[in-house]
Symmetry: C2
Subunit: 452 residues, 2 copies
């Protein structure tokens, strides 16, 4: 996407043409306004924020970066803060409070009415990345005995404070969730129809509990095409919902974490530009160190074959090619496994199907690479060529790829089996493991043939 050009707005702000700027805001999307506010100095931030149309200022606020939001909370009056907290959705407030220092949290909590304060406090206590920590309690709750007409009346009356009205939740007297009904169905049915008669009932209900991982929420929403997922407590009482806009964010967040893990990093909490240098180094150093130490074994293995390598110099030339190629092949397979497992397209029980498939793919790829590499060796060493050494390299290449594909599909599935994250068995880790196996195979073959 192109970046928006906010030059004109900045000009208006600088020239203090506030009423003109206010007029512009009226026609803008809250997301774009937040993006504009993200680009201006903190000096002007507050005056620009105060120019926002009242009905969208909470919305804009929830799209701001944490630092800017924090700056605004610290600068506005108590009265303004009360209004802001009142207008914001609970999940956005909780999201914000999770990121800021305690004194800001306290200021916001003091500004909230007692009911909201209790709710926010409860939500802040849920563990990070659980359904409880990302839900909101602003959903439509309907009694099963309502008629469609009563239900729509009820929705009309309460809708302004709800995060979504498109899926409504039916509860019994003890607040247990008994079904869901789409607003669409309420509009389409006869107005005397009872909600209980048209709702999707218990058997079809898709719910999560407060302690469930957010990844599970995203998976259910994706699988069942839901616009919101209801959250219940251990007794089955409805305590909140998670809406599709947050679910989309979770999906991207979980994907980012997988990318980071697969590149041997600890996942960062913040976006790249906002993560500090020390934090960033901390996220990377542990794996770099572990992998560095592991790689010294490969070095030991190489130097222990010093006699072999110095007698047959040509063998040394092929080492990077063999290590890289097996590493790349293993990395291809493990990436497909990790992704397939994450999306539920591959299950543990598919292991032998996968292994057999990878065996066949490996044979095809290995044959083609061996032929290509043989030709290359032949051409590049036309004068000094030694067929025996070519054959050693070819055999090692073939076997190394077979092993790479076998390990590449086995380790991620093994990780899943023992309830660890398959994403850890990606690129760098895989490469280090395969370096050793490849060299072992290579030296083994070379010794068998050359040292009778």
């Amino acid at each position: 996407m192109e970046e928006k050009d906010f030059e004109e707005l900045e000009q208006l702000l600088e020239e203090k043409k506030f009423s003109e700027l206010h007029k512009r805001f009226l026609d803008m999307n809250p997301v774009d306004i937040a993006e504009f506010l993200g680009q201006i100095d903190t000096v002007n931030l507050l005056s620009a924020f105060r120019l926002l149309p009242k009905d969208i200022s909470a919305d804009v606020f929830s799209y701001l970066d944490t630092e800017q939001a924090e700056h605004i909370v610290r600068s506005i009056t108590d009265k303004e803060l009360c209004r802001l907290v009142d207008d914001m959705f609970i999940d956005d407030t909780v999201d914000f409070l999770e990121e800021v220092p305690a004194n800001v949290v306290n200021r916001v909590l003091r500004a909230a009415d007692p009911e909201t304060r209790k709710t926010i406090n409860r939500y802040l206590n849920y563990a990070e990345d659980t359904a409880g920590s990302i839900m909101t309690n602003e959903m439509v709750q309907l009694h099963t005995k309502y008629t469609a007409k009563q239900a729509i009346e009820n929705i009309r009356k309460t809708a302004t404070d709800k995060e979504t009205i498109y899926t409504c939740y039916c509860v019994d007297e003890s607040r247990r969730l008994v079904g869901t009904v789409e607003l669409k169905d309420l509009l389409l049915c006869d107005e005397d129809t009872k909600v209980g008669d048209i709702m999707d009932d218990k058997d079809q209900l898709i719910t999560v509990q407060t302690s469930d991982d957010q990844e599970m929420v995203a998976e259910l929403a994706r699988k069942y095409d839901l616009l919101s997922v209801p959250v219940t407590d251990a007794e089955g009482r409805l305590v909140g919902i998670i809406t599709i806009d947050d679910i989309v964010d979770i999906i991207e967040q979980e994907n980012t974490e997988d990318f980071e893990k697969m590149a041997a990093m600890r996942p960062a909490d913040e976006t790249y530009l906002k993560t500090g240098v020390f934090k960033m180094a901390k996220n990377r150093i542990l794996w770099l160190a572990i992998l560095m130490i592991s790689a010294t074994f490969t070095g030991q293995l190489m130097s222990s074959k010093e006699a072999l390598l110095s007698n047959w110099v040509f063998l040394t030339t092929a080492i990077p090619m063999l290590m890289d190629t097996s590493g790349n092949a293993g990395n291809q397979v493990s990436t497909l496994m990790i992704r397939g497992l994450a999306l539920g397209e591959i299950k543990i029980k598919d292991y032998f199907v996968v292994l057999f498939k990878e065996f066949r793919v490996a044979v095809i790829c290995a044959l083609m690479l061996v032929v290509l590499n043989f030709g290359r060796m032949w051409i590049m060493n036309a004068e000094s060529g030694d067929l025996t050494q070519y054959l050693i390299v070819s055999a090692a290449l073939f076997i190394a790829i077979l092993i790479a594909n076998a390990i590449g599909c086995s380790l991620p599935i093994l990780m899943k089996l023992i309830h660890l994250d398959p994403a850890l068995m990606a690129g760098p880790m895989m490469t280090t493991i395969l370096d050793v196996t490849t060299l072992a195979v290579y030296f083994g073959i070379a010794q068998k043939i050359l040292i009778k």
Copy 2:
């Protein structure tokens, strides 16, 4: 997620207890029914499909695997097919038709009514992965002059055939899109209010064109929290919408493609288990071959330093550690870049900020690794140790990591700058490039110091 247990249903099917099975289907979610149908033999598939409650059979059909859906289309009567095509949403039909042989496409087109047939044919002509190829035309269109009451009446009458009624689209006489209105706002406002007065109008409108890439659609929906994105033709006329359930699928699909590209593969069209062995080998072999050939340069470089390495054997031991560590460091950075660029969190203009940040992170990581590695060398070679060689390895390690981080952040941004996919500059490619630079640095330092 746990897999569902369908044993009982299978039992019912085998014992031909069809009315009992039909009863079970009534209480099940279409997604789960499709999953169940996915597990049974094609022999029983048709009879099970015919037991589906009429109002959800099209829905279940759209969740089936292509092969099973194809089998059903080939087996059912013309009359059944007409009904099915009539009940399905256009985007689901088009999705299905894009995957099946021409004779199946023709059979489905013959079963469609002339209007639908024309629409399907038009949609099939849009290029793959464009907005046009994934949209549906089943949206609510309202005139701006309608009152809220008239609008809701209109929605009630037509809603059964619409894929979503929650965002309605306002068009002028020449079908140009002039605004959108949320059903929520229609319900909340006074019933005599004109649609034109409460709609989000032109300035705030977020639209895509039929030829825009689906990735852009997903990015807009994510950024602006949209439940559906309108698609217009070159003249600004509304031709379709793309709903959030499809957008979630696009997001996962685009992520999968990035994972595959970053592991040096051509993206696959199908899920792992459904991709054939030859197709799979084809997706992998090209990059494996390119990277294998590139790696031979590293080998050449090593063997050209044969004299150096055989005089100072200890230097050989450190080669895998140096190559792996710089590769891992570069891979960490490039992964963060690729992801940040994909999510729009990093822009090309941030390059120098990023480069300076990576320089500082590299210095911190490199210092720690150098100390750790120096200690390891000291301990492991207590008797035979040679301080000069330790210093050579340490200096090379330090410089190699600095270079790795610089290249790791520069290449993805360079790719973006020349409009290529940054994901190509990930792990394997990065490793191969860094192998050469690392060895060059290493041998350069060693020669300077050892060979006076």
